[in-house]
């Protein structure tokens, strides 16, 4: 329209200034009519072509913006951990690109209202979500949204949803596989570690009633029942602790604890003949942790270290490093090879060639230690060189309160 008006105006100006009689809109010669006509036709044609070119350019720009938008949407949805977070970002991105006051995308079905206009996002004939924009948008913006943005958005949302489901399934399968492995290990333990103390207790209990048993033998049998029963109780407690850790129901009761007291309690739980060297840095402040859980973790580490140190004293050191407390349990045992440094924290893991004898632990001590340290927001690892002993390191957060 503007092009034609400009052309007519130019023709009129041409007539006024150049065609005799100059200064009027009248035309004297017939040939001048032809010239004016030709001028008008050329002007209209030129302006139409340039108008078309301009429109094409805008359209191309829009397409590019839409393509960029689609790419950005795909990138946001596939990179973010949660679909909902990504959708919030995409909404903002979309509003900026299209010059809207706001736009939001939700996964559910939504109703429009006087202030909001909703556009369904369908993919594969299935509703995957809703695009919500302000009501009363210009018709061209709306049709652009419908035709150019919504199809791409729908596909991207569907892919993201499918991907999220796949990830969830993978995590679940991984968890199932792990708990399956633990179940197998528990079953193996039940068949051996639980059964053997029961066998010993039943046999000893029956034997003690025989009339010909001497006093010494009776004492011996009684001690056997107590030892085996204690071992069984220990294993049951360990299995309970481990199942709580695995089921993530071992919620720590966080309080300010003095590591000196925690270490003391862990030491008190050790057999009387075990020897320890304790060094606690006086600058160590309190840690925020569950006293009982950390105590059990440390007691398990001490017990493990004692088992491998062949009568040599085990060293415990605790000192502050920044906002962390570092506890080291150092033994002079055979050490742990690099390949085993992760695996020794697995339930029922036994290093190659390690005999399963009466003095062996339940095989759960280190797994429980790791579980309890981690539920309390700490870290645990082992530093070792075969033949040079092992150092188990526990790192916990300090609260900064002095003792």
């Amino acid at each position: 329209m503007l092009g034609i008006a400009t052309s007519v105006l130019s023709a009129a100006a041409f007539n006024f200034f150049f065609l005799p009689p100059v200064g009027t809109f009248r035309i004297a010669a017939t040939s001048d009519w032809v010239a004016l006509g030709a001028f008008l036709v050329v002007a209209v044609a030129t302006s139409s072509v340039s108008e078309l070119a301009r429109r094409r350019a805008v359209e191309a720009q829009n397409r590019r913006a839409e393509a960029d938008l689609t790419a950005a949407m795909a990138q946001l949805l596939l990179a973010r951990a949660g679909v909902e977070d990504a959708l919030a970002l995409i909404g903002r991105h979309l509003a900026v690109t299209l010059g809207l006051p706001w736009a939001s995308i939700s996964l559910g079905d939504m109703e429009g209202d006087p202030r909001r206009h909703v556009i369904a996002l369908n993919s594969d004939h299935r509703r995957v979500g809703t695009l919500v924009v302000p009501a009363h948008l210009p018709a061209d913006v709306l049709s652009r949204l419908r035709e150019r943005v919504v199809p791409a958005l729908s596909v991207v949302v569907q892919v993201a949803l499918e991907r999220e489901q796949l990830v969830a399934e993978t995590v679940e399968t991984e968890g199932l596989r792990r708990s399956e492995a633990i179940k197998t290990a528990v079953l193996r333990a039940v068949s051996h570690d639980l059964r053997s103390p029961v066998t010993a207790m039943v046999a000893a209990g029956a034997a003690v009633r025989a009339p010909e048993v001497t006093r010494v033998e009776r004492d011996e049998l009684g001690r056997l029942v107590v030892e085996e029963g204690t071992r069984l109780a220990r294993l049951i407690n360990d299995l309970l602790d481990l199942s709580k850790i695995e089921a993530e129901t071992a919620a720590p009761r966080l309080a300010e604890c003095s590591l000196e007291e925690v270490i003391d309690a862990a030491l008190a739980a050790q057999p009387r003949d075990a020897r320890f060297r304790v060094r606690i840095d006086p600058n160590l402040t309190l840690v925020g942790a569950d006293f009982v859980q950390v105590e059990r973790a440390l007691a398990n580490l001490l017990e493990n270290a004692t088992r491998y140190s062949d009568g040599e004293p085990v060293t415990i050191r605790a000192r502050p490093v920044g906002d962390r407390a570092i506890i080291r349990v150092i033994d002079r045992g055979p050490g742990v090879s690099e390949a085993e440094r992760e695996r020794i924290f697995e339930p029922f893991y036994r290093s190659a060639g390690q005999a399963v004898d009466a003095h062996a632990g339940s095989g759960l001590g280190l797994a429980i230690a790791k579980g309890f340290v981690e539920t309390n927001g700490g870290r645990i690892w082992v530093e070792s060189n075969p033949g040079q002993g092992s150092t188990f390191v526990v790192e916990l957060r300090v609260t900064g309160t002095t003792r």
Binding site: V226, G229, T230, A233, N237, L240, D241, K244, R253, A255, E256, S258, E260, E261, V262, D264, A265, L267, A268, R272, R275, F276, V278, F291, V292, E295, T401, R403
Partner: protein, 234 residues
């Protein structure tokens, strides 16, 4: 239910819904010279305690009707007899609640007879205090309560007045669980009843002085997580 008195004249109420545990408790307590009455649930326990004189109660935390925590509370409404709860590993929170509800002490299952009897005897000492001793010897430690002097293996140890007051409470209540609250109110006064940090600092100092760092480590003062301390020279 059994009646009559044992050789040492004390009657103990044992409450547990497991008949095997009751059987074991009866055997252990009788061979230690106590008379035993039993109850399989809280209602029965309240009846038995109300009918005959009972000197102490041993109560399982898990009971079929009212749990051990509430039973301790109900008993505390009218009796000051020692109450010891039986708790399993993993029941720490319940144990702490029972101790706050009036129970004196706890024994962790599975327990040895020596441990149970020692706890019971320590708890019974509260209700019938022995004549004031002025000199106490325990686990290589000698304490003169009148003169405020302490020796470990014959060597004198210097304590501050606060540390000595704590030690006095500990040796006078050997083997008994002393809660943070009890220690704080008795040494510092009731206005300091919640200041566990102060208590912890003083206990740490006391331990450092009592426990000879050079020799084998001795545990005189044991930490009872979330509850208090116990003086238990080994």
């Amino acid at each position: 239910m059994t009646s009559g008195f044992g050789p040492n004249g004390r009657r103990i109420l044992a409450v547990d819904d497991e008949p095997q545990i009751l059987r074991a408790l009866k055997l252990v307590l009788r061979s230690a010279g106590y008379e035993v009455v039993t109850a399989a649930n809280s209602e029965e326990a309240l009846d038995v305690a109300a009918v005959g004189p009972v000197d102490a109660a041993i109560v399982d935390l898990l009971l079929p009707d009212i749990d051990g925590i509430e039973l301790a509370q109900r008993l505390r409404e009218w009796t000051s007899m020692p109450i010891i709860v039986l708790s399993a590993v993993g029941e720490e929170e319940k144990k702490v609640r029972a101790l706050r509800s009036g129970a004196d002490d706890y024994v962790t299952k599975p327990f040895g007879p020596a441990e149970l009897v020692a706890r019971l005897e320590a708890a019974l000492r509260r209700t019938s205090p022995e004549p004031e001793e002025s000199r106490v010897v325990a686990g290589g430690l000698e304490v003169d309560l009148a003169e405020h002097l302490v020796w470990r293996d014959g060597e004198e140890i210097h304590l501050t007045p606060t540390e000595f007051e704590l030690l006095r409470l500990f040796v006078r209540h050997r083997g008994r669980l002393l809660t943070h609250h009890a220690l704080l109110t008795q040494v510092w006064g009731s206005e300091y009843a919640d200041d566990v940090t102060v208590l912890r600092g003083q206990i740490a100092n006391l331990r450092r002085k009592l426990e000879n760092e050079a020799g084998p480590r001795r545990h005189y003062v044991r930490t009872e997580p979330g509850v208090g301390y116990r003086f238990d020279p080994k």
